[in-house]
């Protein structure tokens, strides 16, 4: 039992490396928030393209559905490796091939891209469910007032759909946040990679425990917010 505590809860290891792991967690949070916001936007765009009306938009619908299906089917780790392994060699300007925007290293940006491409697809599916859940009468009322498709979407359908899907979007955000650890494989020192570095140096896993605790500190309140949102919506639903 002592060995167990020493391996996972060695306070000396934790305090010696606290700052280093915390810095890794800051990287994790930045990656999660940036990719999270971009996924929210990209997902909505995909969902709207998928809902574009009429025969003229059939190719657009087909492309967006294919994209969503493909991205949902490929492991995120592979997407990260594919992007970081080929983007540097594509015939593009250097600032795109090896992006170092805002003082962040290129693995950070490859991570943002991979997470956004993948989670945008997940979130598009969530938005779609929300769009479908808005009663058709709302569309008809909007159209009968002379709104065109995009006005009806923008002012009537999307605002209602987004409200309905805030809880599942938050769930996806929690999942995204945890998946940032995969970006560690391309040498971004996010919190898990930081913990592994310490582990390799000290032959002790306590820095990883610290990483787990840091995650929990953020994800548990988020999960509670999701639950509160869901029960609030249920009350509304019961009231009619």
């Amino acid at each position: 039992m002592d060995v167990f505590f020493q391996q996972y809860f060695d306070l000396d290891v934790i305090s010696d490396n606290f700052e280093f792991v915390l810095k890794g967690f800051a990287e994790t949070l930045q990656l999660a928030i940036l990719a999270g916001i971009l996924s929210l936007v990209w997902g909505l765009i995909l969902a709207l393209l998928r809902a574009a009306p009429g025969r003229a938009f059939a190719p657009v619908r087909f492309l967006s559905i294919s994209y969503i299906d493909a991205m949902r089917g490929i492991p995120l780790l592979l997407v990260i490796l594919l992007i970081s392994g080929s983007l540097p060699f594509l015939p593009l300007p250097e600032s795109l091939r090896i992006p170092q925007w805002l003082g962040k290293p290129d693995p950070f940006w490859y991570g943002v891209m991979a997470l956004t491409l993948t989670y945008g697809a997940y979130m598009a599916e969530v938005y779609r469910a929300g769009l479908d859940a808005v009663p058709f009468g709302q569309v008809e009322a909007a159209r009968s007032l002379g709104m065109n498709h995009s006005q009806a979407m923008r002012h009537v359908i999307v605002p209602q759909a987004v409200r309905k899907v805030i809880p599942p979007l938050l769930n996806d955000f929690i999942a995204l946040m945890k998946d940032t650890s995969l970006v560690g494989v391309i040498a971004l020192i996010e919190v898990v990679e930081a913990g592994r570095t310490v582990q390799a140096e000290t032959f002790n896993s306590s820095a990883l425990t610290l990483g787990a605790i840091l995650f929990i500190v953020v994800t548990i309140p988020l999960a509670r917010i999701v639950d509160r949102q869901i029960s609030r919506q249920q009350v509304r639903f019961q009231r009619g």
């Binding site: 009429g54 009663p135 009468g137 709302q138 008809e140 009322a141 909007a142 159209r143 009968s144 007032l145 002379g146 709104m147 065109n148 006005q151 002012h155 009537v156 605002p159 209602q160 409200r163 509304r236 009231r239 009619g240």
Partner: protein, 243 residues
């Protein structure tokens, strides 16, 4: 004002409208009655270009509106107000926002102008004390009156009503019919699908009886409702008046 010529509408194999002709003059109130499934809603939805017909044409103020391009359909709909059985108020907007939204976004009125117009309309339908309420906190009758105000806000040239009191509790029907009666008195051109025979008798200039996608007979309410010529009409009236 509104002229429907030889209108046919199919959903797959089902032919819902089978050659409808209808002529509504300016300021006229036409009540459309008929059994459920006879195509009344579909007719209104075709007039409002929510459904494209397969055959026939529809003219609004002398101009053909069927087969209009997309942008043009949106334009046409501004001149046609429509009120639905299920109210369809925008659930995320309060009463006055419901009435103002399209004024600002479609007609390009300023927020102030739309606001003033919306308040006046809500007062006219007797809801000046509910301006800020959300639909979920309004009774069915109140929601329906907001929906009428919302349609009127676009200054439509003709108003379509599709069984607007059918989803209401009996005690709330009158407040909605009163608003419609006033509108008719002011000279609004109206096509009203309804099961309220009292309203039709009192307010309609003409009653149209539809069955199985055709107009079976039409004429002044005193003829169609009291002395129908057609067997099908009297059978329908017998069933309705029994209740």
């Amino acid at each position: 004002m509104v002229r429907v010529e030889g209108l046919h509408k199919r959903f797959g194999k089902l032919e819902v409208l089978r050659g409808i002709d209808l002529d509504v003059r300016k300021g006229e109130v036409v009540c459309v009655i008929g059994p459920s499934g006879s195509g009344k809603s579909t007719l209104l939805r075709c007039v409002n270009l929510l459904e494209p017909p397969e055959e026939g044409r529809i003219l609004l103020e002398g101009e053909e509106i069927t087969g209009a391009g997309k942008g043009k359909s949106d334009h046409v709909r501004r001149r046609i107000g429509m009120v639905f059985q299920q109210f369809n108020l925008f659930a995320h907007k309060n009463a006055i926002e419901n009435v103002s939204l399209a004024q600002v976004r479609v007609l390009g009125r300023s927020a102030d102008e739309a606001d003033a117009k919306s308040r006046a309309l809500l007062e006219r339908v007797g809801l000046s004390d509910k301006v800020e309420e959300y639909p979920e906190r309004l009774s069915g009758g109140q929601q329906q009156r907001v929906a009428i105000a919302r349609a009127l806000a676009m200054d439509p040239h003709v108003m379509l009503f599709d069984e607007v009191t059918s989803a209401l509790d009996p005690e709330l029907v009158k407040e909605v019919l009163d608003v419609m009666r006033e509108l008719a008195d002011e000279g609004m051109t109206m096509i009203v699908v309804t099961h309220e025979m009292g309203f039709a008798r009192e307010v309609a200039d003409r009653v149209v009886f539809m069955d199985e996608g055709v107009v079976v007979e039409q004429g002044p309410p005193s003829d169609v409702l009291s002395n129908p010529r057609e067997e099908r009409t009297s059978r329908f009236l017998g069933l309705v008046l029994e209740r």
